[in-house]
Every structure is written in structure tokens, then in C-alpha cells.
């Protein structure tokens, strides 16, 4: 009956995941460096100047992928959190906590580049637009998760508490998103909605996709190397860690 080629649960053990992650980190680092290099070259030299927004629009190639990643990473964290609560695997909690700083960083980059974009385009660093506000709240959710995990010393409790917090946040994110959207449109006209979707040329779209994939590979590489550190820290008393070549040295 059971004819799976790979036994996925084998890698839910930190001892077998640690070497696998070690092999995956250089691969994804290479992919990230190449894609981000190509993407940056394309965004600076290949993509044409926008006739309306001038050269300043090139921020989009960092801004939009970072914003995508910020939301995507939260969903991935929620996936790991749910998995950890259901199957009670230790690795899931470690994955969730290793992703959080990267997610927070991308959220911050999205907000920061958005401010740099907003100043020349809208004439202001910040507006209480629905998207900006939801992104800001997302940053608060990340920071809350990191703060909660930092405050709990017991790793098992911190994993489970963090997982619960993420899942509550996931339920709340659509509510927050729509409430912010309606709140904004009820009281303020659509003065700040930039509609570039239809007018975007395919070369710009490709550049953005390449950058997004590069950021994605970067997030994987960083999260995996961070999870390796977390594994080492939490499993430091076990035999398999003491037998590792890099620990013995």
C-alpha cells in the first residue's frame, strides 16, 4: 500500500534534517546570488525608464518582491506552526522561528522602500493607505512573535505558544486587511492608488519575477542556515551533535 518514494517524516528529525539543510544552503545561496545579480542588472540597465514616474520607479523591483515575500513567509510560518501543533514535531517550531526574522526584515524593507518611493511620487513619506497600514500591522505581528519567543526560555513552550500566536494572526489577517481597506475608503478618496498593473511592460514584469525568485531563494538559504544554528543550540546535549565534524573541531 505505502509506496512513497521518499519518507518525508525521516527529515522531521533534527538529526537527519541538519545535514540535509547543510547541503541545501549553498545551493540556494548560489541561486539567490545569481538571480538577484541578474535581476539587479536588469532593473538598472535593461528595464526602460518609465515615462510617467521617471527613474524613481526602479524601486519597484525591490519593493514589490519584498512585499510579496513578507506576506508569503507569514503563510509559510503558519504552515509550519500548524504542522508542529498537529504532529508535535520539534523541527516545525524551529522552522517557524527561523523564518520570523527574515519575514520581519522583508516587511521592513517593503515599508522602507515604499517610503522612498512615496516621497517622489506622492510627495510624502507615509500615507495611511490600506496597503501601507496592513503591512505595518504585519510587521507588528512579526515583532510580537519574535518578542514572545524571546521571552520564553523553555523551547518547547516557546514553539507551541508561538505557533498559536501565528495561527491566531492568520485568522485575523484577512479581517485586518479588509477593515483597514474599508476604513480607508470610507473616509478618504482614492487619491493614492497607483495603478501600474496594466501599463507595465513585460520586461519590467520579468525583472520583478526574477527578483522575487531571488529573494525567495535568499529567504530559504537564510532560514535553513538559521535553523541549523537553532538545531545545534537546542540539541547540544545529544550524542549526534557531539559527533559532528564541525563540533568536534
Amino acid at each position: 500500500m505505502n509506496s512513497r518514494l521518499i519518507n518525508w517524516f525521516k527529515f522531521s528529525s533534527p538529526a537527519s534534517f541538519y545535514p540535509l539543510a547543510g547541503k541545501m544552503v549553498p545551493v540556494f545561496t548560489l541561486i539567490a546570488v545569481m538571480l538577484i545579480g541578474v535581476g539587479l542588472y536588469m532593473s538598472f540597465f535593461v528595464a526602460p525608464t518609465d515615462y510617467k514616474q521617471g527613474e524613481g520607479y526602479r524601486i519597484i523591483f525591490v519593493h514589490v518582491p519584498a512585499a510579496w515575500l513578507s506576506m508569503f513567509i507569514y503563510l509559510v510560518m503558519a504552515f509550519w506552526a500548524a504542522l508542529g501543533l498537529v504532529f508535535n514535531t520539534r523541527l516545525s517550531g524551529m522552522m517557524a522561528s527561523s523564518l520570523a526574522p527574515t519575514g520581519a526584515m522583508f516587511t521592513f524593507i517593503a515599508l522602507w522602500t515604499g517610503a522612498f518611493w512615496g516621497k517622489p511620487m506622492w510627495g510624502t513619506w507615509w500615507v495611511w493607505d490600506a496597503r501601507l497600514t496592513s503591512e505595518l500591522i504585519l510587521l507588528f505581528l512579526y515583532l510580537g512573535f519574535i518578542a514572545l519567543q524571546g521571552a520564553i526560555d523553555d523551547s518547547r513552550r516557546s514553539d507551541r505558544a508561538g505557533a498559536l500566536l501565528i495561527l491566531v494572526g492568520v485568522v485575523n489577517i484577512p479581517i485586518i486587511h479588509y477593515s483597514v481597506k474599508w476604513w480607508n475608503t470610507l473616509h478618504q478618496g482614492a487619491s493614492v492608488s497607483v495603478t501600474q498593473g496594466s501599463s507595465m511592460s513585460s520586461i519590467m514584469l520579468w525583472t520583478m519575477l526574477i527578483m522575487a525568485l531571488g529573494f525567495w531563494a535568499y529567504a530559504i538559504a537564510v532560514a535553513l542556515s538559521r535553523v541549523r544554528s537553532i538545531i545545534l543550540e537546542r540539541e547540544r546535549d545529544t550524542t549526534w551533535v557531539s559527533e559532528l565534524a564541525e563540533v568536534r573541531r
Binding site: A147, R156, L164, L165, L167, V168, N172, I175, S179, L186
Partner: protein, 222 residues
């Protein structure tokens, strides 16, 4: 099951009556925060009328955060919480009883006090009515959502600050629709839509928050 709910409710209310200072701390915090804004902004009635819904709602949000820390802490300290975890009745029902009591002690006085503070901000009778209804619908949601945070941070160092950090972002929809209802009523747009949304949030919170809180309590009291 319902008896357990009532028993917890009665017990918590009796405890609160024995220690009245806790109730008044929250209430006075609310009053003071609301009274600070005219001092900071200036006594111009036109401005005050404009910011009144937001100020009252933000103050209510902060006051309910202040009270959250005590929601489970005392029971955790004296071991009652462990008995609740072991009780045959579902934990979420007991949690709901505790949250109801918590709202009656800290939320309801705040709701009743709000129209008086609204008068200081020169709100019309109509707006005061909407303020009262929106707070009546919204503060239970604040207590319910806050209970999750209180359960997660149970017994941690710096729990009081941490619980605000966790819960405040989750409470933003309540704030938006609560203050939005009053603003919509003042500007003549009609407050019904906002109040319906608040009602929906309360129902959703009533359904999910006790479950999440009991799961968090099990994690914290392990």
C-alpha cells in the same frame, strides 16, 4: 456545563467585589487618558468633537490591555488554574466564564462611563448613543481577543508589556469599526454597517477565542 460557567462567573465576580480597587484602577485609567487629550491638544470644541470617537476608543483599548494581565495570573499563582485544566468540563467554557466576568468587571464600567466623557468632548446625543452601542459591542471582543494574549504570556517576565505587543495589532479591526461607527454617525453616513461588522467580529471572537485561549493555557501551564 452551564453550571460550571455560572460557578466560575459567580466566583470571579465575588472575588472582584472583595477587591474593588482593581475595578477602579482600570476605570480611572480610562478616564485619565481621555481627559489628557484636551490638555495636550487644546480646548477647541471643534477639534475635540472630531477626535472624540478615536480618543475614547483608543483609551478603552489601552484600559482593557491594562486589566488583561490579571485575568489568569492570580489563578495561576495559587494553583486554581491547574484545577480548571483538570476539571471534567471543557476548558473553553470555563475560560468563557472567566472572560465574561472580566468584561463585567473592567469592560462594562468603562462602557457606562464613556457617554459622560463624550459629553466633555461635546458629542451630540445621537453620537453618544452610537458610542455606547459600539463600545457595548466592541469591548467584549477586546476581552475575548485579549484573553488569548494573557494566556500566552502567563507567568512570563515582562508579561504586561508583552501582552500589549501581542494583542494590540489583533485588536485593530475592533478599533477601526468601533471608532468608525461614531464617526460615520457624526458625518451622517449612517453607523449601521460598522455596527454590523463589530457584531460579526464579536461573534467570531466568541466562537474562536475561548478555544485558542484554552489551547494557550494548556501550553503555558504545562
Amino acid at each position: 456545563m452551564f453550571e460550571a460557567y455560572l460557578a466560575i462567573l459567580k466566583r470571579d465576580l465575588i472575588l472582584a467585589v472583595r477587591r474593588r480597587s482593581d475595578v477602579f484602577t482600570t476605570l480611572f485609567f480610562f478616564v485619565i487618558v481621555v481627559s489628557l487629550f484636551p490638555l495636550g491638544i487644546g480646548p477647541e470644541l471643534k477639534t475635540l468633537r472630531l477626535i472624540a470617537p478615536g480618543v475614547v476608543w483608543v483609551a478603552a483599548l489601552l484600559a482593557s490591555m491594562l486589566a488583561l494581565e490579571r485575568l489568569f495570573a492570580v489563578d495561576y499563582a495559587d494553583g486554581t488554574l491547574e484545577q480548571m485544566l483538570l476539571a471534567p468540563q471543557p476548558l473553553s467554557v470555563l475560560v468563557l466564564g472567566k472572560v465574561t466576568a472580566h468584561w463585567l468587571i473592567t469592560g462594562l464600567p468603562l462602557v457606562l462611563m464613556a457617554p459622560l466623557l463624550g459629553l466633555q468632548y461635546d458629542l451630540s446625543i445621537e453620537a453618544l448613543k452610537v458610542l455606547l452601542i459600539s463600545l457595548l459591542l466592541g469591548t467584549p471582543a477586546l476581552s475575548l481577543i485579549g484573553a488569548i494574549g494573557a494566556a500566552l504570556t502567563l507567568g512570563l517576565r515582562g508579561g504586561g508589556v508583552l501582552v500589549s505587543l501581542l494583542v494590540l495589532p489583533l485588536c485593530i479591526p475592533v478599533l477601526i469599526f468601533g471608532a468608525g461607527a461614531v464617526e460615520a454617525s457624526v458625518s451622517g453616513l449612517g453607523e449601521v454597517g460598522h455596527l454590523y461588522m463589530l457584531g460579526a467580529i464579536v461573534l467570531l471572537a466568541l466562537l474562536l477565542a475561548p478555544l485558542a485561549t484554552s489551547a494557550a493555557l494548556r501550553v503555558s501551564a504545562e
